[in-house]
């Protein structure tokens, strides 16, 4: 099955792209997707920061099980405000 992954900020720069579609096994968790992406994009790893996970624009835990066409974002430390 396929999910959409969006990269922002430092991860967008490291991946060299803002959005991809990724084929994963049914039952994969968001943490497993991240491990797979680190293999695809060598510059993503090692990640020297704490990431949060968002699926369909809501924060989820690492063991969240992905569904077909989910929109997944790995959220680097936020720094909005001023």
């Amino acid at each position: 099955m396929k999910v959409k992954v969006k990269f922002f900020a430092i991860l967008r720069e490291r991946a060299g792209t803002g959005e991809i579609t990724k084929e994963i096994r049914k039952g994969s968790t968001v943490a497993e997707l991240w491990e797979a992406l680190q293999r695809d994009y060598s510059k993503l790893a090692p990640v020297d920061m704490r990431l949060l996970y968002a699926v369909n624009q809501v924060y989820v835990k690492a063991d969240y099980v992905l569904k077909e066409r989910d929109e997944v974002v790995f959220v680097p430390p936020v720094s909005g405000g001023s």
Partner: protein, 143 residues
Amino acid sequence: MFRVTREAIDLQGLVDFVTDPEAGAIVTFIGTTRNNNEGRKVIALDYEAYPEMAEKELARLGEEAKKRWDIRRMAIVHRIGPVRITESSVIIAVSAAHRADAFEACRFAIEEIKKSVPIWKKELFEGGEVWIGTQSGQPLPGR
């Protein structure tokens, strides 16, 4: 009104939006780009957002503030793209019958934005740039 925008933020527009005949107080917070940070000479801050989620998070935070304080209306607009020295990156406006609620809800909003809203800033300084919050030791060299 909870929005992410590429335009300069209109302070008076936000204050007009939260103006309410039941309100005796309006508090606003304006975040501005400062010319220095941790000893670096800052040129601009370049903000990036996950816009759909950022707007949802801002609205969620507004709902949370309404539960905690007796406020009338709230508006938050965050700018993305480059924000130069003295320009506004974020404006929060809150109205309430009484000033204590307006102050506390406004302070809460800016503290929460810095924790949970998917917006990131890259600092452009003399000699380089760095994504704030991701520094592992030294800032990255300029490219």
